[in-house]
């Protein structure tokens, strides 16, 4: 698909409209639109405006410290970063974690999936879906939800709480816990904690099923609108298990093109860089990954719940798999491409996570003391996991002194960079082009971005042709720093 609207032919005389910050998402992003006098849209871009540089500053740190450090990329999905880094460190310590550790990690991961999906659907996105995209700004938030739909709000808070509690009992803390270590786990699940979770899990499964039904009902009310909103066809990528099942913790990479043809399948993820490259564009700190065999222009794809539910052959828990089939039937039996279908797929995954937790809690291995394996030291490790927002890649090299020498991270939201830009351009053409822009209409753009549940903290990884200068003053008005950027792109203080 041609990426029209990426760059205006003659930006000079166009007016600029900015949405900043994009809200009800995690982290920092903004959208710029360039319009002519008749409000025709000539350019639409979604920018990631923060830069962190984790890849650089982890260099020299001991590899054992990294899984805890990189959690601080993201406070909503810290478990994903912790686990992806730990899987890489498993390789570095030369060991496969023993089965009890593997199951404890999976339990933690499912708790994470549950809480993150609940947060996104109930706290952040449901006000758009329940009140309307251009509802009053004072209503479009969790307070509005609590007032207008108190039962839904309470279930959302309870579901999220349960997921966070699963994380707490497996890692020691709800945010930035420390249970996972290279080669396994540092703690098992206590009997009391297991009983504590067992008490509520059946209710959690039922509420999760209710959430799938809710989004299905929202779609069914206006199928054409929801299927068409900001939509296009694309390739999808995700991990799948050996037998093609959905597996959010481990598997091989599968990519399928927009016609449903396989691009690659069961790829060993350690070879990821043979299949995926990333392009840097001047106007975003987030890179633009693409599938190499398809080329830079056409090789972009989507990851995350929609990709996973479309890509897998089945979901290995019964309720979620039944919902997956309903989901497919709604689209005539083939993969769903609608931007808003992300929400539906996300709720199917939330249900799957709840069922997986229910199943895991029956397993006595969680109480075992067989928690760590150690083998022969390796100098490189790659760890990949399906984070709530999609495929997350961590790649580390260490030296003989056990320090990190290189790191490469491709976070889930980055894979969706081009796709999010395509979605806002579709919406701009469908709903904004030629119109007087109101606050409500601008929210349509954000609704399209929110469907992806972008994590812009994770994605944060300079300015203009003109020299730029910024002064930072302290509280008393004294200058703390003065920074200059030259036209050659070099910074000077």
């Amino acid at each position: 698909m041609p990426s029209e609207l990426e760059t205006a032919a003659n930006p000079a005389n166009l007016k600029r409209v900015v949405i900043e910050p994009v809200t009800r998402v995690e982290g920092h992003g903004k959208v710029t639109l360039l319009l002519d006098e008749d409000n025709r849209v000539h350019q639409a871009r979604f920018h990631i405006v923060e830069f962190r540089g984790f890849e650089k500053f982890v260099q020299g740190r001991p590899y054992t410290e990294v899984p805890v450090l990189v959690q601080r990329l993201c406070g909503i999905c810290p478990v994903s970063h912790n686990l992806a880094a730990s899987k890489a460190m498993d390789v570095i310590v030369g060991a496969t974690p023993p089965p009890p550790a593997d199951k404890l990690r999976r339990l933690m991961h499912m708790g994470q999936m549950l809480q993150s999906h609940a947060l996104h659907f109930f706290h952040l996105s449901s006000p758009d879906l329940l009140f309307g995209f251009d509802a009053d700004v004072g209503k479009r938030n969790i307070a509005g939800l609590a007032a207008g739909f108190p039962d839904i709000a309470r279930q959302g808070v309870a579901l999220r709480k349960f997921g966070q509690e699963v994380i707490r009992v497996t890692s020691g803390k709800r945010v930035h816990g420390t249970g996972v270590i290279p080669g396994g786990m540092s703690r098992n699940l206590s009997r009391d904690d297991r009983d504590y979770l067992l008490k509520d899990i059946d209710q959690v499964v039922q509420w999760s099923l209710g959430a799938v039904k809710l989004i299905e009902a929202i779609f069914s009310k206006q199928p054409e609108f929801h299927n068409g909103f900001g939509s296009y066809r694309s390739s999808f990528m995700s991990l799948v298990r050996d037998d093609g099942a959905m597996d959010l913790y481990h598997g091989g990479l599968r990519a399928v093109d927009e016609q449903g043809q396989t691009i690659f399948d069961h790829v060993d993820y350690r070879q990821y860089s043979d299949y995926i490259h990333e392009e840097v564009k001047s106007w975003s700190y987030m890179k633009f990954p693409f599938i190499r065999s398809q080329g830079r222009e056409a090789g972009w794809y989507r990851v995350g719940p929609l990709a996973r539910v479309n890509n897998c052959d089945f979901i290995p828990t019964p309720l979620a798999d039944a919902e997956r089939r309903t989901f497919k039937e709604f689209g005539g039996g083939s993969a769903r491409h609608a931007t808003l279908a992300f929400h539906w797929a996300r709720m199917i995954e939330m249900l799957h996570s709840a069922e997986a937790i229910q199943e895991l809690l029956q397993d006595d291995d969680l109480l075992s003391d067989d928690l760590v394996h150690v083998g022969e030291r390796q100098l490189q490790g790659v760890g990949v996991i399906e984070a709530p927002r999609g495929t997350l890649i961590h790649d580390y090299h260490i030296n003989e002194d056990e320090q990190i020498v290189r790191a490469n991270l491709i976070v889930a939201t980055t894979h969706n960079n081009q796709a999010m830009n395509e979605a806002i351009r579709r919406v701009a053409l469908q709903y904004l082009d030629g119109k007087e822009l109101t606050e409500g209409l601008l929210n349509y753009i954000e609704v399209a971005i929110r469907a992806f549940d972008p994590c812009l903290s994770c994605a944060t990884h300079a300015i203009g042709k003109m020299p730029l200068e910024v002064e930072l003053m302290d509280a008393e008005g004294k200058m703390v720093q003065r920074l200059l950027k030259d036209s050659d792109g070099q910074y000077r203080t």
Binding site: H123, V137, N141, R154, V157, A158, E278, W283, S284, G464
Partner: protein, 184 residues
């Protein structure tokens, strides 16, 4: 809710600068108490609302340090509008993890990330007027504006946040029990 009730509510604004959002996550981790909080306060600018600029508020809560010009602008906007400004979590208080880049040349950081080989194409560093100017260091927020309270913990525990906020909302001087503070 009638207008009278709305006017008398305490107004709170929150923002995330150079942080990971974990402090905001911990705020949500007060769980069902969120509904009690919503009964007492009204959220102004926050990642949880669609209000894009901070208006006059009673309490401003800032997560994360200052890593670029836009962070500094937002922080000033908060200071100008909030009667009480709170630094939440070590990112806001000291710079924390993002400040690990402080002893590295910013240009080296950019090169590592954007010219990573193999796998990165384009051979350029993002460089567009729409991207805010990054500072060569990440600053704790007290170096840029006056801060009234510091709430520590990475993130502070939900109970610490709850006790702190209810003290402030009800007009008491916030006292956090030692057991509720953790620094890991």
């Amino acid at each position: 809710m009638n207008n009278q009730a709305r006017i008398s509510k305490v107004k709170i604004a929150t923002c995330s600068l150079a942080g990971c959002f974990g402090c905001h996550t911990s705020l949500l981790d007060i769980d069902e108490r969120l509904f009690d909080l919503l009964g007492m306060v009204e959220f102004d600018r926050s990642p949880f609302t669609d209000i894009k600029h901070c208006g006059p508020c009673d309490i401003g809560i800032v997560e994360g340090g200052v890593s670029n010009a836009e962070n500094a602008r937002v922080l000033r906007e908060f200071r100008d509008n909030c009667k009480v400004l709170v630094a939440i979590g070590p990112c806001a208080i000291t710079g924390n993890v993002p400040a690990l880049r402080n002893n590295i040349d910013l240009w080296d950081c950019f090169q590592e990330v954007y010219l990573y080989d193999p796998g990165t194409e384009g051979n350029q560093i993002p460089n567009d007027p729409e991207l805010p100017l990054p500072f060569d260091k990440v600053y704790p927020i007290y170096e840029v504006v006056k801060v009234d309270y510091f709430l520590n913990g990475c993130p502070p525990s939900p109970d610490a946040i709850w006790n702190f906020l209810t003290d402030l909302i009800e007009g008491r001087k916030p006292e956090i029990d030692y057991k509720l503070l953790r620094y890991d």
